[in-house]
Amino acid sequence: MREVAVIGVGMTKWGELWEKSLRDIFVETALLALDDAGVDKIDSLIVGSMSSGLFIGQEHLASLLADYLGQTPVPAARVESACASGGLALRTGFIEVASGMADIVLVSGVEKMTDVNGNEATYALGTAADQEYECYHGITFPGLYALIARAHMEKYGTTREQLAMVAVKNHHNGSMNPLAQYPYEITVDGVLCSVLVADPLRVLDCSPITDGAAAMILCPVDIAKKMKKPLVKITGSGQATDTIALSSRKDLTWIESTYQAAKKAYSMAGKKPQDMDVIEVHDCFTIAEICVTESLGLVEKGKGGKAVEEGVTSLQGKFPVNASGGLKAKGHPVGATGVAQAIEIVKQLREEAGPRQVKGARVGLTQNMGGSGGSSIVHIFERS
């Protein structure tokens, strides 16, 4: 297997991009990534998108995007693993380069979510849950994560305020990220007084509906070494599944797919959780970040809430989590999220993250999750 490096990243401001179409935002970010890498030709294009069919009525996405990027006849593929589609795109690109099938691979993620109304978006997102055993009974994602939150509170004494602190921390970090959809500070009181969505989760516990894209260029380390940029390698990649339906899980508070994916990634990289300097996790809801920090082994089982309260996961803490603002503040265009997480880690390792820079970060981790944990993808990055 060849060693793989990231040589270019591209992302534009996320938000409600009503004046742009999916292909516009993809091409903008892809061009930025090509420019950053200093290449004008790619061997392969991978795009992660959860549901372009339901959101904009467009399938056959990979060819469309290869065309609009001016890269036909390049082989192109769209991959899907619900909200982990971006992470899967990265892993697919990684495998292509590592295997020697391609040298320069454009890995991207994109979702255009505001062309439909709130009900249609909720329906589209709901397709990441088990249609027959969950959705038909009326549950939506805020409801599923509310069940997880309630179980965590009952089992470990996690408090409502600790959930709010996740959102406050991520908005604080996001306030320093000019590309974030909501780059504003919020307060614990503000979260607690926001509109109730699914008890105990309130609207400021939930990541938003977002239009956005992200792109990066991968290549073998041998080629990357010739570039003048700091060398950032992908040293670990893990992917795992779990039951899609929450009701089939032994423990609602434990994200087994994340645990399994992380185990593989740590093993491939020869690293332990304690080695991580900067971490991006899938905080689609505040409770998700708490569960994921536990499943990644960063904090003890059941202590995720306490860790936030004690500042363990803050920018200055032992394990800075979601320096980018996370899904909560940065936005969550589902298919693009996994790629954007990797971009944040690359920026941190290159020391290009500006005011939110984690000093001296050499090793970073991304965790991208589909649905309520039916799939997880973990990557480890190192600067050498």
Binding site: E16, W18, E19, N117
Partner: protein
């Protein structure tokens, strides 16, 4: 110089509270009240519609204008709830106030800005010397689908303005319109309730067009926000007018006299025109007033008015808008409201 020579508002006496609507839909009333800054809304009686409310408001405008209705050369009603799809509303109004038969009549529709649209045309005909007086009304018995967010605000009311060249109450110094093709809210033929684009109705719709029109008219008139005593913006909810005011540099104090939405709801074509009547009610000679409407689809009309000495003579000749809003109220339960709004289907 041309301007308003008479004005009048009409608000039905029935009200329904946000709590009463939220209760039926299992919704969180405090969230709606906080999110929309609306507490209650007006509801028309079963026999009231855009035409009857236009007649009431026009009669008050005539009381203030003290003119012979036969001299009115144009009668316009702007509404998105004209009772007939084919057959004008304006003819009934013209007949009811005694302006027929030598009168030009038309019905306007442009979502929530149909009222100011009629005002724009009536004023322009007076300005052109084509007619001596022109009457324009903004009126709606707004529709909001049961359970939709719009149901908490869709209200009923009317405002009427008579324009002329003598005995002016508020002279018009400038007009300006700002229009684009922006489909944020619509109702197709044969549909009973409108549909809307959710958050799309905010930034690229309401805010873009109101700020566009307000900046445009202020540049044209060489005026700045602090030059105005009062400003009225379209009021689809309580928050939007304050937010757009803040964006443009207006103060709460300038907005508040015409801000009726918390107790009135959104009267669609009547919204900013009724706000202007309430502002005229408390204004003094030489006060400068800016009004900017908003209609989905989308566009905004702006007018700059300067109040004259005559306001003191006409103000008390008809009921003031705040009086109509705050007195003689009749609170409905949801069942009665549903019956009044014809939401209950009876056997044919």
């Amino acid at each position: 110089m041309e301007g308003i020579i008479g004005y009048g508002a009409y608000i039905p006496r029935n009200r329904i509270k946000v709590e009463e609507i939220a209760k039926v839909w299992g919704a969180d009333a405090p969230s709606y009240k906080k999110g929309l800054l609306v507490e209650e809304k007006s509801v028309p009686s079963p026999d009231q519609d855009t035409i009857t409310m236009s007649v009431e408001a026009s009669k008050y405008a005539l009381k203030r204008a003290r003119i012979n209705p036969k001299e009115i050369g144009a009668v316009y009603i702007g509404s998105e709830s004209h009772p007939y799809a084919v057959k004008p509303s304006g003819t009934v109004l013209a007949e009811a106030i005694g302006a027929t038969p030598e009168v030009h009549t038309a019905d306007f529709e442009f979502a929530c800005k149909a009222g100011t649209e009629g005002m724009f045309v009536a004023l322009s005909l007076v300005k052109a010397g084509e007619i001596k007086y022109g009457l324009a009304v903004g009126a709606d018995t707004s529709q909001g689908a049961p359970g939709d967010a719009l149901e908490y605000t869709a209200a009923a009311g009317a405002a009427a303005y008579i324009f002329g060249r003598e005995n002016i109450v508020a002279e018009c110094l400038e007009t300006y319109s700002f229009t684009t093709d922006t489909p944020d809210f619509w109702r197709r033929e044969y549909q009973y309730y409108p549909q809307h684009g959710g958050r799309f109705t905010g930034e690229p719709a309401y805010f873009k067009h109101i700020t566009g029109a307000a900046k445009g008219i202020m540049a044209k008139a060489r005026l700045k926000p602090s030059d105005f005593n009062y400003v009225i913006f379209h009021q689809p909810n309580g928050k939007f007018p304050f937010r757009v005011g803040e964006l443009l540099g207006f103060t709460k104090k300038q907005i508040e006299p015409g801000w009726l939405v918390s107790k009135l709801g959104n009267t669609y074509s009547g919204s900013s025109p009724i706000g202007l009547t309430a502002t005229l009610d408390i204004s003094k000679p030489n006060d400068l007033i800016l009004i900017v409407s908003y209609g989905s689809g989308a566009g905004s009309d702006g007018f700059v008015f300067r109040v004259t000495e005559r306001i003191n003579e006409v103000r008390d000749l008809a009921p003031k808008t705040r009086f109509l809003l705050e007195n003689n109220r009749n609170y409905l339960d949801y069942g009665t409201y549903a019956k009044f709004r014809h939401k209950i289907r009876k056997a044919e």
